[in-house]
């Protein structure tokens, strides 16, 4: 009995201590102590866990790298495919917008019949401002038919084969068009230049021409229908010694960006050269 009492006392003390500690812990009085005790343990645990994960990844790495490389190649291939698709779709959007504006133009000018054609080549000589289109006599194209875009006059068909046609641009040095200035009703002749610009000639000295005047086809001469926009007057040169004024014109069409054009198929140019008197004729 005697020997049991110290043990009972010990148990009782431990119980008291345990209850005291629980009480202190519940009351939050042990938090600083537990922090001091737990922090080194947590640090050690973290350090060991990280090293273990590093060693584990080192052991399993070759397998992962192969998988990742395969996934990477597959993703890269898909990315390339999607990029190509984006470029194609962007191109289609641009083409659709262009065609839509051409259709709008066609609807606004119902008096004419049109055929659309793509510009597929340019003349190989820098002396010639011509383009080649992908429609020819099989599509009903004939020499002399006017070629336009929604912006304005491009030129006329100079030669035709079964599947293609050559178009002389209005900025070719050999091109000559009778025009009228919309604001002032002044008639003139529009000539192309080797520089790619277009110039108004044969403007009467009495005529009043202003920068910004709209230049349109007059229809005289029978080569082009009337009232097709060509461009705007930029500068006027009026020399006292010359018989006529000249003016440079900003074309409405950007000839370096020609992609799709419209050909007016119900207009046939008239050759009036036999009617022009020559010095040898009686």
């Amino acid at each position: 009995m005697k020997s049991n009492s110290p043990k009972s006392m010990q148990v009782f003390v431990f119980l008291l201590l345990a209850l005291g500690l629980i009480g202190l812990a519940l009351g939050g009085y042990l938090t600083p102590v537990s922090r001091i005790l737990l922090n080194p343990i947590i640090s050690a645990q973290t350090w060991i866990a990280k090293r273990y994960q590093a060693v584990q990844s080192l052991i399993t790495q070759p397998e992962d790298v192969t998988t990742l490389r395969q996934q990477n190649s597959a993703l890269e291939a898909e990315n390339s495919r999607l990029q190509v698709q984006i470029v194609e779709l962007q191109q289609q959007v641009i083409e659709a917008q262009l065609l839509s504006t051409l259709v709008d133009y066609e609807r606004r000018h119902v008096e004419n019949l049109y055929i659309a054609a793509s510009v597929i080549a340019r003349d190989v000589s820098p002396f010639m401002h011509y383009v080649i289109i992908d429609r020819g006599s099989d599509d009903g194209l004939r020499k002399g038919m006017p070629v336009i875009t929604q912006q304005g006059l491009v030129g006329s068909i100079a030669a035709v084969t079964a599947g293609a046609a050559r178009v002389q641009l209005i900025n070719d040095p050999g091109s000559s068009i009778n025009v009228i200035l919309q604001q002032s009703d002044v008639e003139a002749v529009l000539n192309g230049q080797i520089t790619g610009e277009i110039e108004l000639n044969m403007i009467s000295q009495n005529a009043t021409v202003q920068p910004g005047d709209l230049v349109m086809t007059s229809g005289i001469g029978g080569n082009y229908p009337a009232n097709i926009v060509i461009g705007q007057v930029v500068t006027i040169r009026n020399e006292a010694s010359s018989l006529f004024q000249t003016a440079s014109v900003q074309p409405a069409v950007d000839f370096s960006q020609l992609e799709i054009v419209l050909i007016i198929t119900n207009f046939q140019s008239i050759d009036i050269s036999p009617l022009i008197p020559t010095p040898s004729s009686p």
Binding site: I120, A121, R122, D123, V124, S125, P126, F127, M128, Y130, I132, A158, A159, R166, Q168, P173, G174, Q193, I194, T195, G196, S256
Partner: protein
């Protein structure tokens, strides 16, 4: 066989010239791929088809140009003649011969084009032609001359292998 290769080569070159090179002018001048390849071919040793290739190139160029048919053929024939002459004179320095031949040939081509346009009834201002077409074209052709010569040198080695003396 060699002429068939020439037809395919100049067909492709003409398409490149009309769709890509002609849309990339320096001022208003453009490089002339057909001229470069014809002259480079004419300057190669052992090559005996220079005149045939010149004719093929001239026909292709004429098909893609509004200049009177034959203008390019005549121009390229003169250029091959010049190249052959230079090859005999400057045979020790083929690159120099190529540069000299391209310089002179570009002038010849532009002169014949100018004459052709004059015959067509279109007079052109010479100063503009010199500044905007002639000088830029010469520059572009000279830049491309050496790479084209190297390509044609390899092609000549392939089509005309050197005979070994046993």
């Amino acid at each position: 066989m060699i002429n068939l290769i020439g037809i395919i080569l100049f067909g492709i070159l003409t398409i490149f010239q009309s769709t890509i090179v002609s849309t990339m002018p320096l001022l208003k001048g453009t490089a002339d791929l057909i001229l470069l390849f014809i002259v480079a071919w004419a300057l190669q040793d052992r090559v005996d088809t220079a005149w045939q290739w010149c004719l093929i190139g001239g026909i292709f160029a004429s098909l893609y140009s509004a200049l009177p048919f034959g203008s390019f053929i005549v121009a390229y024939i003169i250029c091959v003649g010049i190249a052959r002459l230079l090859k005999r004179r400057i045979w020790k320095a083929p690159f120099l011969a190529m540069l000299a031949a391209i310089f002179i040939s570009t002038l010849v081509i532009q002169l014949i084009s100018l004459i052709a346009r004059l015959i067509m009834g279109v007079s052109l201002p010479l100063t503009n032609i010199l500044n905007l077409i002639l000088l830029p074209s010469v520059l572009l052709n000279l830049i491309l001359a050496i790479p084209v010569f190297s390509i044609m040198h390899d092609m000549a080695d392939w089509l005309y292998p050197e005979k070994l003396d046993v």
